[in-house]
Symmetry: C2
Subunit: 133 residues, 2 copies
């Protein structure tokens, strides 16, 4: 079918864990151990989520991360776009490449593909972290 990237998958796992966890702050190490996720990779993911204000972070020896948004306010679409980029469902619909496509005059599938993409985006934006809890 169609595949979520590991970054997105790990994000969901981690964000769900933040959502259900009572702890004030959780560390990358803790989560990576619990779910067997490569530590360095998860660390970068949490850093990114932190940069996006989805998490807040504390540095230093007792530091860690904490949710900064409601799980119901974090959509899958946001996470996917964050880590996989704003790629269109086909190459020629990438943000920057858009309309560069169709070397041939008659790209006959453009309109239905645009519709497809919009529907998928709307689907993924309706899916929230809270749906995973």
């Amino acid at each position: 079918m169609i595949r979520l990237s590991k970054k997105v998958e790990y994000s969901i796992i981690a964000l769900k864990y933040f959502a259900i966890s009572k702890e004030a702050y959780l560390t990358a190490k803790e989560i990576s151990k619990k779910y067997n996720i490569p530590h360095e990779l998860l660390a970068k993911i949490l850093q990114r989520l932190s940069k996006e204000k989805i998490l807040t972070s504390n540095q230093g020896i007792n530091g860690g991360y904490r949710l900064n948004k409601q799980p119901s306010d974090i959509s899958l679409e946001y996470i996917i776009k964050l880590f996989d980029g704003e790629k269109g469902i086909v190459e020629c619909m990438n943000g920057k490449n858009a309309n560069e496509c169709c070397i041939f005059d008659e790209c006959t599938i453009k309109d239905p593909i645009v519709k497809l993409q919009k529907e998928l985006e709307s689907y993924f934006s309706s899916k929230k972290i809270s749906d995973f809890v």
Copy 2:
């Protein structure tokens, strides 16, 4: 977002062309020229579709392919699975790997992910080639 493979994209373009074309038989060369698709690649795609009885083929110098199914009977899900395989939305849900996942006991996102996958499959199986015509 989430990306259709070239094989799927080319399939849609070609199948739509078959659907709207009046010609009895169309060749891989003809379609690849018209839409600027690498000939060898499209040839393999049409061969595969032919093997699946979606197209019928004639060999020999005046040969080519012709639709063997109604455009409304060819779903996007079928095409995607055909060319990209029966991959799950996450690795651990691949046909053969299934349940091998979750080295850790508590894969907390399994059920919602299964639901996600089922919904996407149902969406893609509702999309037919006729929707692109």
